[in-house]
């Protein structure tokens, strides 16, 4: 018990001096939870909107928008957590491409009854592994994803040739009727809640390669989604450079442009964005 207390005190002392410096998520799950922690435990009153999506939107950056896109996760998870958040932004931009992915109930429950506000050392940002990786990396995880993207590995044509079959295979299988109905019902339920709380909800689709969009799962989902939400037109973002690194994820230029487009949807003029 003595060792436990000593290490805990050292950890707390380190956190109080180092603050938020030197952090790197060990996995997508941890990164997603840190995004959510940052949103829930920080004051975002200056932000106009929230982006809720998946890895397709995770690299988008806009100074007036909070990005709650979960890599390898579900946009529905973020929507569920938003419903219990104390502060809600004016606009919620929801990426509709993969909105059928199942909710991570455990993550939702974690944020419903959370001890981490009282005990910051329990936050994912401060996990020893996150701190260790941060220390090895030698600098903090940059919270501006466009900068991260610049420094990330160069995805070239060979990589795309390797990754594209993965996304084609994923999208080749149709959703079961149960998966489809559950996802649509959850979207409906959460959107009604959020609109009831005064937020404006906008659905958007990120551009992905035609070869992938043509797969049965995407076709099935898009058709069902449009039919289920006749009063919520889905915005197709007009991006001039739609090239992707792997069939579904936009390259750097596309992401920068997507940030501007989403800002416009939320009512923020491009000039204002560039000015920041």
């Amino acid at each position: 018990m003595g060792t436990f207390l000593i290490i805990s005190v050292l950890h707390l002392a380190y956190l109080s001096t180092a603050g938020k410096a030197r952090y790197k998520a060990e996995s997508q799950e941890v990164e997603n939870r840190v995004r959510m922690e940052d949103f829930l435990y920080e004051n975002h009153s200056a932000k106009i909107g929230v982006i809720v999506g998946t890895s397709l939107s995770a690299n988008v950056h806009h100074p007036d928008l909070v990005n709650l896109s979960f890599r390898g996760g579900s946009a529905l998870t973020a929507l569920e957590i938003l419903c219990i958040a104390e502060q809600l932004p004016e606009t919620i931009l929801i990426e509709a491409n993969l909105l059928y992915q199942p909710v991570d109930r455990e993550m939702v429950e974690k944020f419903e009854s959370d001890q981490r506000v009282t005990f910051p050392m329990l936050q994912d940002r401060y996990r020893p592994m996150s701190l260790l990786l941060g220390a090895i990396k030698g600098k903090s995880e940059n919270r501006d994803p466009s900068v991260n993207l610049q420094s990330s590995r160069k995805l070239n044509a060979t990589t795309k040739a390797k990754k594209l079959p993965v996304h084609l295979a994923s999208a080749a299988v149709r959703l079961s009727s149960e998966e489809l109905t559950t996802a649509l019902a959850l979207v409906q339920e959460n959107v009604e809640k959020l609109e009831g709380l005064g937020s404006r909800v906008i659905f958007y689709l990120t551009p992905i390669d035609a070869e992938v969009v043509g797969q049965p799962r995407h076709q099935q989902w898009r058709k069902s989604f449009v039919e289920a939400f006749p009063n919520h037109p889905v915005e197709h973002l007009a991006i001039s450079d739609e090239s992707t690194s792997d069939g579904i994820h936009l390259c750097l230029e596309g992401n920068l442009e997507m940030g501007e487009q989403l800002g416009l949807l939320a009512g923020i003029p491009i000039e204002k964005n560039r000015g920041k």
Partner: protein, 477 residues
Amino acid sequence: MLFTTIEFAMLVAIAFSIFYLVRGVFAQVGILLIASIVFYAFSSPWLTLLLLASAIFTSWSSYEINQADTAKKRKIIACVGVMLNIFVLVFFKYAGLLVRSLENLTGASLSGAEWLVMLPLPIGISFYTFQGISMLIDTFRDSRNSQEASEVYRSGQSLGESLYYGSFYVIFFPQLVAGPVVKAKDFFPQIKVKSISQINWRLVTHSLVVGFFLKLVIANNLQNQTFWIKYPYIIGMSADRAWTLLIGYSCQIFADFAGYSLIAIGIAALFGYRLPDNFNYPYLSASIAEFWRRWHISLSSWLKDYLYIPLGGNRKGSFRTYLHLLIVMVLGGLWHGAAWSYLIWGAYHGLLLGVERATGLASARKGMVPGMLGTWTRYVVIFLLVSLGWSFFKLPDITHAGLFISQAFTAWESSVAQKKEVIVVATYCLPVLLYHLNYKLKFTKTRPYLVPVAYGVMLYAIVVNGASADAFIYFQF
């Protein structure tokens, strides 16, 4: 109900506080029976009926074996009891696989048998049916040696008592859903009045701290990395990444299952019961045969006692010995899951055992490289061979497993291993390595002050670096 949930902690706390307040073995066993039913019914209320029916039927059969006046009667009852347990296991676990395989073989659609595919898999069915079979066989063997005191039955036990204590043996909650598989002859002698002063707190502390650390910190965090060993993500995966993740999975599956077993041992010890050790530093094995003496010991021992030796073991010539090894390993593989990849995994180990036996490598402690270096080389080779076999565990579709293995050996030219992934996997595998090294190099024996330090570090890691409480890998079996 998972061991890592607050509901389970509450169940144990309530059962523990009442258990030592009541007097007499009957009442104490009653508390544990109720706790076991609550534990199982929490996640599978309807399937609890199957569990209870199975436990009661097996206990009744055992009682009848004990009461039968002729050897022939005893044999018939024992055979019927064993067959029924096997039937329950096959029906709920393998019917779907058989239907799908028949459809694939004949090309015909067996739409009338679709309900068999949809049958729910009762949690822990492989474990509790094996324990049931153990009770029947042990009772039968006991009854043949009537001059010796029975290890399973006390003289004068009534039918009611037999059903009561027999059911308790089958459904005792710490080991109900994923073992260790306890043999009846080892468990029944422990059914006595327990007092709080008899608790082995050292065993409880060690088992629970190390068990929860292995599960929450190592296995669950590694799971977030090894998640990528999954179709379609394995398409185009580089060889170095495949090996990094596979080694991570080897450590994950050990941490997950050894963690579960330790927690089960710790919880059972709280109630005064000693469950058998299930792992003995398996990744320090110099041969596959040694690996199976160290990995999932309770299952290996069960298969040896109730399958390998009754088949004839190694007493019927070389050919039959190899055949018996293959049969036992194939069935042991299939026991893990209703997919052909588990059968292949079993056959893979059976073949390796056969090769070892034929070449004399199983018994020889020295390999081609002499001394300490030779021993450690063998540890590494066996670890890699075992790790390769886990591909069939992680990817139950044989074609996916084949693709993954081929990538692990061929995709070197397009290597894109990520530094971060290697660091994370290596860091989480390090405690598993230290755990094994401690056994070999005896750090904690020569420096006992390290023990409380290690417990403190593990507790701290559980609190601040534990990952989500996912189900244990072996729960699906």
